[in-house]
Assembly symmetry: C2
Homo-oligomer: 372 residues x 2
Amino acid sequence: MAEDFTVTPWEVKGDVDYSKLIKQFGTSPLDEKMLSRIKNLAGGELHPYLKRKIFFSHRDLGALLDGYETGKKFALYTGRAPSGSVHLGHLVPWMFSKWLQEKFGCDFYFMVTDEEKFLARNYTLEETKKLAYDDILDIVALGFDPGKTKIFVNTEYGKTLYTLGTMVGKHVTFSTAKSVFGFTNETNTGLVFYPNVQAGAAFLPSFLEKKDVPVLIPAAIDQDPYWRIARDVAPKLGFPKPAAIHSVFLPALSERGKMSSSDANSAIYTKDSPKEVRKKVMKYAFSGGQPTVEEHKKLGGNPEIDVPYQYLRFFEESDSRLKQIHDDYKAGKMLTGEIKEILVEKLNSFLEKHQAERERARDRIEDFILRD
Amino acid sequence: MAEDFTVTPWEVKGDVDYSKLIKQFGTSPLDEKMLSRIKNLAGGELHPYLKRKIFFSHRDLGALLDGYETGKKFALYTGRAPSGSVHLGHLVPWMFSKWLQEKFGCDFYFMVTDEEKFLARNYTLEETKKLAYDDILDIVALGFDPGKTKIFVNTEYGKTLYTLGTMVGKHVTFSTAKSVFGFTNETNTGLVFYPNVQAGAAFLPSFLEKKDVPVLIPAAIDQDPYWRIARDVAPKLGFPKPAAIHSVFLPALSERGKMSSSDANSAIYTKDSPKEVRKKVMKYAFSGGQPTVEEHKKLGGNPEIDVPYQYLRFFEESDSRLKQIHDDYKAGKMLTGEIKEILVEKLNSFLEKHQAERERARDRIEDFILRD
């Protein structure tokens, strides 16, 4: 079936229809029943990303919560391909993971895939490792519990990961990897093996603790093919199938789709200065407003396509404030310049704190690193 | 070109024509000039395996010796896919490596590929690791210098090997792996990656010492495809191209070809008892003798196809004694039963010492193991 959008681990293109994606990937929508279950187990509170359907889909979350209700703890697993330029979109599953860690007391495993970037791009391993440690500052800055958070850089954790990747790889033919990841005969054999490592780490908590530890993977939905592989292989290796919870993409500033690291004007980086943030939002953020102030006041803006409003859905914690902005903007009471100003202030206040924590993280990295 | 023999890392079949193989693989014959060069550098002595053309082919040995003559040390690298049943054929490159280590003062790197066996056969990793440690007893038993010998089991040395394998894998497409190793789309992606690890360890001495350390690989010629990959990739990674020196196969007892671990009657194992050795040689060793004693005395035997004689070429150190046996057997003065008896005694005396050293090795393994 031809779609007008593409979502793979390597590419997100077009105007993503998330309901279609749920059907295409065969995942389950996060429905009201599931949300209310999470709310009860989390102590009566839902993270804004759940209320706002930023996390919108899952695999096997019900079974995971069944176990949790009978006292079975679960672990969290997610990751990052290092680029040295973490942007706001990357933070979404991480901030959500932090909430899950707090509410459910989870160990959090975080993979930093220096070899993936080396294999897929024109970098040396020394370069990707340097980028990895720069990105780790952004992770640590978010305030995870150091006693329960284990960050690993793949080539430094290669003993365990090569073992897990080999275990998975035995059950994944080239044919399967080809159809799931779009590999060709010209794909390098390092990259052909790599998905086994990313999928294999879903078994890391069980492997390390030598008992069944169920895993929940919070990640953007483009990573789902890896979890499909992990779920297919799990019973053959005697590990529990990982559950997954999927987020939408933070849109690019200037268009729809996924915020990209490679187009500096389409993304706001965690290292951007207040001036850069202001410039990018004011200049590049796609507006759902009307061409003139007169028309805007008369017809109102369209929050559904307005990037500043969409960003506020990710970064404005207060539901009532967000609704007020939505309604005012839609009614034409709030102008494009005003909603952009609100976003600039919100992001700069977030980044001021984040950047301070990022600096503080430099001396704390070792508290989080998992090594062989 | 259709051949009446096949030599690949997975299969050795038919009556191998080693001169044809040199052309087919594009290696160089070990000629008299090269042998006399080795002899001079080794202090005036040649190992019987060199004199007898058991090592018969090489890649770039000249360049390696050029370096050695200007004071540049080289390292040795070879390996073993663990089966728990080391047979005499496996010992050939190892015994030769020991001589090289003594004569040239080389560090010796030995890879034990537990994951290869896991990926290619119906074993668990726990099983192949157990087999690995049993096979390591046979290596240690041969008397390598513990200060200069580094044995590593792949999944236990996975941090370094995953890094090296990844570096190689970036430059080896699936197409290349397919044509060099005969992979198909149904090959599992663990096995598709594996050759990068075996090839990558040819760079281990340089990687660990952070300077150019040339490597010589003594191994049976079926392993050459791995070294071709290593040599292709070396300049791209900034490592010296490994040199290789290739041995013929110790024939199977009952036929020509390569001694196999899977047919117990075609191989003599290092753990065989004197009685088993006697029975196997007497019952299964293919004879180049005549059907009756009378005919044998008249026509003589054919040492070229006589397996007991061929084995003596590998295990009788004395050139003059070997020549005597050859001539007597060919002249019909020595009967089939007699040459078999000589072999039985030779092997049992070798194995008696080897088995004692093998037991002594149990407490010494850790002196040899290289870990991440």
